[in-house]
Symmetry: C2
Subunit: 661 residues, 2 copies
């Protein structure tokens, strides 16, 4: 088969066989092209510009004749037939660069953290009797005996890589050595441990011991580098999950994983994301001029990926399955079960992480197909599991995961809100990156909008928080009614019909980045209403399942990256969040990685996450008639029963009176 040289964005060309898909070549070249629909040619997001070369388009769905004339082609539907030069639209490359900048969290070391008491990893300094002609015991018996004597453990095991170098390490500093042990947590009193690594001599007490915590989001992967001795987060980094090039939501990932070698490919992609971030957090930590806190100015640290000796990983169940290369097909088909909720303790090499090969890798326990360890870890870090007041924990993304309860009991459910709040399923939707409209105000008399755009530039589209405020403003100004229907009698050219679809123009072509009008359509509004209705119905059913009503909820804890940018007032106005005083809402940011961080540091936190997982009662909504009824009732703005939203009812009165006053 003949070879073709393909270059992306002017970089060094790579060689691929003729007949290779453009998106496959991009993966080969390490170039990110989004494929929200999983390569089915439906979404049009993978369009790239072929500026030179020979390609064959199998489909041009979603491309105009002008697009095709300008060289645009759908990456997932176009095969390479000769040497080719490709330009990836700025949007995609921009997005990639942006993620990691936006997600730096301030992290407080848990009060009273003491690695000697709290860590499952223990660093033990050993002085070992050297062998003599009268005592010819083997090295391992000698080492094992010294460890047991120093620790009161009953049994120590180890791995082949440690045994391979053991003899040389023990003799390197005359039988003085430092053992790094990982204590088995299944017993309440430590009895068994694994010798993770062995170093010659006595490592100084203050020397850092490196761990990482990881959150694998469907969209974003985050890694924190932690000094386990001090508990400090020394550096952080995040990037888009490279699996997104093979499907934007979890379901399209599962579908892709069923293609031949799809599962292996998805595993490789997320490993590449994680391993790239691991290298990046190590580089950041080791270059003091690059840091963004005081953390690593205090000591001149050096950390390379192989120095990392422990990892905890949180993620939704599908992300965890795909990371471990475990078949996830059963998750998307009734009765929706996982292969496993509690992965065994694994090692760096088994998982494929570029860290110490024997490092324990702890994929935290989840609960069900759509309630993974991102939620159990999130519940831990949010404090919900120990809370006195009745609390609701929300993690809003493509799926909304909900947990209700406190220290006595916990119930949980997941509702498939769809990608609307992430800008998906909305014509001019986009992620919350440069050029996204993140807030909208509409004048109740002129119906003219005022926009706030991320990066203060010309708008490119609407992100989740922008859509929520837009929907609220459209409703409160009467542009749409409570069913989401446009009022066709208003004196404004912003409400118009185009392609048999009513819409409201948010920005005219001469104001926008790409010269096209940016609008929200009737179909978009339906999608948003369905999304918010699913979430609200989930909350309702969850409360009902334990015999409570929404007013009983005393606080709402909101996790997830999206939660950070949400406007509560607007979210209540559209009926996405229950109508409660603002001070009862708390925005916690990435609760999943914070929980993984606690589990990385403290045995007690790791055990509590396991307890949380085991005491959560999972309510399956897809089989629940009550959910369907609650969903139907919520398909209005803010709700069929306006009495549930007293503050909104008040605002509506005020607003609708205003024009006449």
């Amino acid at each position: 088969m003949s070879q073709c040289a393909v270059s992306f964005d002017g970089s060094e060309p790579i060689n691929v066989a003729a007949g290779t898909l453009l998106t496959d070549a991009a993966v080969e070249a390490g170039v990110f092209i989004a494929q929200p629909c999983g390569g089915q040619g439906r979404c049009g997001r993978c369009a790239v510009q072929v500026i030179d070369g020979a390609v064959r388009r199998r489909s041009t769905m979603r491309l105009s004749a002008e697009d095709v004339d300008a060289g645009y082609a759908l990456g997932c539907q176009t095969v390479i037939e000769g040497d080719t030069r490709v330009v990836v639209p700025e949007q995609e490359t921009l997005e990639r660069r942006l993620t990691s900048d936006r997600l730096v969290a301030e992290v407080k070391v848990p009060d009273g953290y003491d690695w000697r008491k709290d860590q499952s990893l223990q660093r033990v300094l050993l002085v070992i009797e050297p062998p003599t002609m009268d005592d010819q015991r083997d090295d391992w018996s000698r080492l094992e005996g010294a460890i047991i004597k120093a620790t009161n453990l009953e049994r120590v095991t180890t791995t082949l890589p440690v045994l391979r170098e053991m003899g040389a390490v023990l003799r390197d500093d005359q039988w003085r050595a430092t053992a790094l042990l990982n204590i088995d947590l299944s017993d309440s009193t430590p009895r068994n441990a694994v010798l993770v690594s062995l170093m010659p001599g006595h490592v100084p007490e203050s020397d850092p011991l490196w761990g990482i915590c990881v959150d694998i989001g469907t969209t974003t992967v985050s890694v924190w580098l932690v000094n386990l001795i001090t508990g400090q987060v020394v550096s952080q980094s995040a990037e888009y999950n490279r699996q997104a090039s093979r499907g934007e939501d979890v379901i399209s990932r599962v579908i892709y994983s069923n293609k031949p070698s799809g599962r292996a490919e998805l595993r490789e992609l997320v490993l590449t994301s994680i391993n790239t971030l691991i290298q990046r957090v190590c580089d950041k930590a080791s270059r003091p001029q690059d840091n963004n806190g005081q953390a690593n100015q205090r000591h001149n640290v050096h950390c390379s990926p192989r120095d990392i000796v422990k990892a905890t990983i949180a993620g939704n169940s599908i992300m965890t399955h795909l990371l471990l290369g475990i078949g996830a097909e059963s998750i998307r088909q009734s009765p929706f079960v996982t292969a496993l909720n509690q992965p065994p303790m694994l090692s760096g090499s088994e998982v494929g992480l570029d860290i110490c090969p024997q490092a324990p890798v702890d994929c935290l326990p989840g609960v069900a197909s759509y309630v993974g360890s991102d939620i159990t870890a999130g519940v831990r870090s949010s404090g919900l599991g120990e809370a006195e007041p009745l609390s609701l924990f929300l993690d809003i993304g493509t799926n909304g995961e909900l947990v209700l309860g406190g220290k006595e009991w916990l119930v949980t459910c997941a509702c498939s809100a769809g990608p609307a709040f992430e800008g998906g399923g909305v014509r001019d939707g986009m992620r919350a990156t440069q050029g996204a409209v993140e807030e909208v105000w509409i004048d109740g008399r002129t119906f003219e909008p005022t926009l706030r755009v991320i990066g203060n530039r010309k708008p490119r589209g609407l992100c989740g928080s922008g859509l929520i405020t837009l929907l609220a403003e459209l409703f409160l100004t009467g542009i749409i009614d409570k069913g989401g229907h446009f009022n066709r009698n208003l004196k404004t050219d912003r409400v118009r019909q185009r392609n048999n679809n009513w819409e409201y123009v948010v920005a005219w072509g001469n104001e926008s980045w790409h010269g096209e009008d940016i609008a929200i359509t009737r179909v978009d509004i339906d999608n948003l209403i369905r999304a918010k209705a699913a979430l609200y119905a989930g909350i309702t059913v969850l409360a009902e399942s334990v015999g409570l009503a929404l007013p009983d909820i005393e606080q709402v804890l909101i996790g997830g990256a999206f939660g950070k940018y949400i406007n509560v007032e607007k979210a209540v106005q559209i009926g996405l969040l229950p109508d409660m005083p603002w001070e009862e809402f708390q925005f916690l940011g990435n609760t999943a990685i914070l929980g993984a961080y606690y589990a990385l540091l403290r045995r007690s936190d790791r055990q509590r996450i396991a307890e949380i997982a085991s005491r959560m009662t999972y309510i399956e909504l897809s089989a629940d008639n009550a959910f369907y009824e609650a969903f139907t009732s919520a398909l209005f703005l803010p709700h069929t029963d306006i009495a549930l939203f007293p503050s909104v009812a008040g605002q509506m009165e005020t607003l609708f009176k205003q024009p006449n006053s």
Copy 2:
């Protein structure tokens, strides 16, 4: 760096960088060239003929000017500088072909073997409740529960490869599946097990379950393929340990393993030997026309390497260390300790065997640096550990390993006999292959020899059994005295001086394969006497260490390949074996692999081997004055103290009188 095409024996050339050593290129090409000295250019055994091409000889030690003119070069001292064609002398290739033919053992399945009771592997047929919307437990909880219910185990764990396919396997035959469990032997009642593999549906009871046992000898590697259900050995194969190309004895291997990447290379070489044999035993078993017993005619078996789900491995301690890639340097330096005597239970993929990656691989426990699992397994299969009479177990090779005792106690030691009995350290010595003189009779009047040659061809050299009979005959005919000195006054031109060295000519040039005289020299005789003295002194000291004398020994059990071909009468005549009635000697063949076979089949045997290892008292001879004295006394034929050899004394009288009668 420029590339050179190198062809061995007319085969397809391989490409190597200019500057590559010929021996390295041979390894690359999969061609076996012996390197007894470990590539130091001292032994000359790696000489090959360069028939065409550009090479540079760094050294020509041991080659004559004529050899060099004829293109001969030392493989380990010659670098390739251009395209080259090489011929490997017939001797080497012949040897390789021969090994596997000679070592087919008849094996009896242990009486009353019942895999259900005896095996650590258990095949369990499961019928599992399928998940429903009311029971959404994850697959693993469901499977684990079903296994525990079916087996009364307390805990089951598994590995990532099994988890990866679990979901699909469980659904393949509607939640009927067959679990293969490996039960942890550390508890007396089975409590914990590892799920090794999971198959869809119910595997028929009579379907074979495949295991292998392996003996890694310094010289020869043997593999048996066993149907664990019936216990039958279905096929066997053996070949030279490919590590031999990097040093013939264990010490030169350890030295080689300290070179850069030497350890990895030795590991690869022995793995290649084992994996080649695994493929071969599978091929043999699967082709009924190829079999050499009735075993596989009865059922039409098919076995591929990946179907092998269990392995046991016996070997001396250095072979075990090198197989696992564990540093072995401490073994050869005082105080001579191993890294570990009891490797943990490993998996096929960890060890690098081409079998089921999760298959348990059990490297059997050894005792000390020079008493490995080949001896503990050998003691088990020889029955010594359960014997009532006081018994001596001998495994004679480069090292002689000795065990004395019975069911009450066991003492063991190793004596470095050197390679003389394997044809090493003897000028015209060779291995027991085609053309080796394996028995010699000398006429007491004419001093003319009669030879028996392996393969009935012209002699090429002297192998171990030939050397023993030759030494005995030289002594009994008075050609040499009890100190090994030649009688220079005999009327025969076979005793002569050449190169300042006295020698006896065994075959004249016109009778030999290569046209050169074959002789045994004074230096050779000294080496042989030292070797037999070391072994005999070992036996003496071992007996003395427990307050016994040699006459107390009631039976001698001889293991190892060499033992099969030894002539007891002659071995006693030179003082190699103690003077005992012949019926008290038993030749057991490869006791190591037989012990590994028992351990493969029966938990009880595996446990007994561990008990044997733990109750053997190891006597270190290198630090023992008594050994040195016993060795010095044994440096005569048969011994300083002829009273220890009454039968030989009688023979000497008869023989020395005969010429005069």
